[in-house]
């Protein structure tokens, strides 16, 4: 696998779309490309951020935050 093919696979990898038989090959290539490969994978995770930001924000109910903060407080105290 050359680096260009690795880049294509990496973009599929970060969204969990590699099939199991492709995954093994990808992991081998990942080792082969070392830091350069890891850096590229890290950059690909920005796709997650972009997909989320492509959506119109949805308001959560106010009770959710209250419950969350109460849980956090209980956890800290416990």
């Amino acid at each position: 696998m050359n680096f260009s093919e690795f880049q294509n696979q990496a973009r599929l990898y970060v969204i969990g779309a590699l099939e199991s038989e492709e995954l093994e090959e990808f992991e081998n290539a990942r080792k082969k490309f070392g830091k350069k490969g890891e850096d590229f994978i890290t950059k690909c995770y920005a796709l997650h951020e972009a997909f989320a930001l492509s959506l119109r924000p949805a308001k959560a109910s106010d009770a959710i935050k209250e419950r969350l903060m109460a849980m956090v407080k209980a956890k800290k105290e416990g």
């Binding site: 969204i15 890290t42 950059k43 920005a46 972009a50 989320a52 956090v72």
Partner: protein, 225 residues
Amino acid sequence: MGQPKLIASTRRKPKKRVRLAKSRARPLTVAPQLEPGAPSDLDLMRGIQAGDADALSQLYDRYNGILKALILRVIHNEAEADDLLQEIFMEIWNQAKNFSAQKGKPLGWMVTLARRRAIDGLRKKQAYARAEERLQNETEQQPDAWVHNATEEEIVLSDTRALIRKVISSLPPAQQQAIDFAFFKGMSQREIAAKTNTPLGTVKTRLELGLKKIYDGLKELKDEL
């Protein structure tokens, strides 16, 4: 299985090719605009790592809308989305020690976590059928479906969202659909192939081409990728 109605509707009006000339592209503000002096996301994550509940509260205020939209896109149920949102922020609190700024931004980490939890939730409840039914019902009114003709009003609502959606909407509908199924539904290439009655190789090509175009488009918008 035929293409969803939504796809057909997008074909009525060919999309203009999006040109993202660097001179015209405004800076892509990935995170919402912060008040002057407001702590950065990284500051808040560090606060959470140090056990500061107020930092979590601020991070919640900043991102609950984005994360809830993502969860809703996966599970299509308001009450379940709220519950999951709470669980996800609790996980952010509990797992903050695993966040590393070297591995990416706080928002990216939170989105990855939220997506995984939402897809897990969908699978655990074996709710594909119900979600699909809701999706079918909601698609026509759902403003946030990728595959639709965005109105001018929608485009001016948010610079960031509009710019990202501009990149996404420049993709052929089949590529958008494949990425949508993979990212928001956690479907494998084989599942997408079966659902869309498309050869596996074609699905793979659609995903590869589509993701590359989005990646390159975002790179043009923001020289960070």
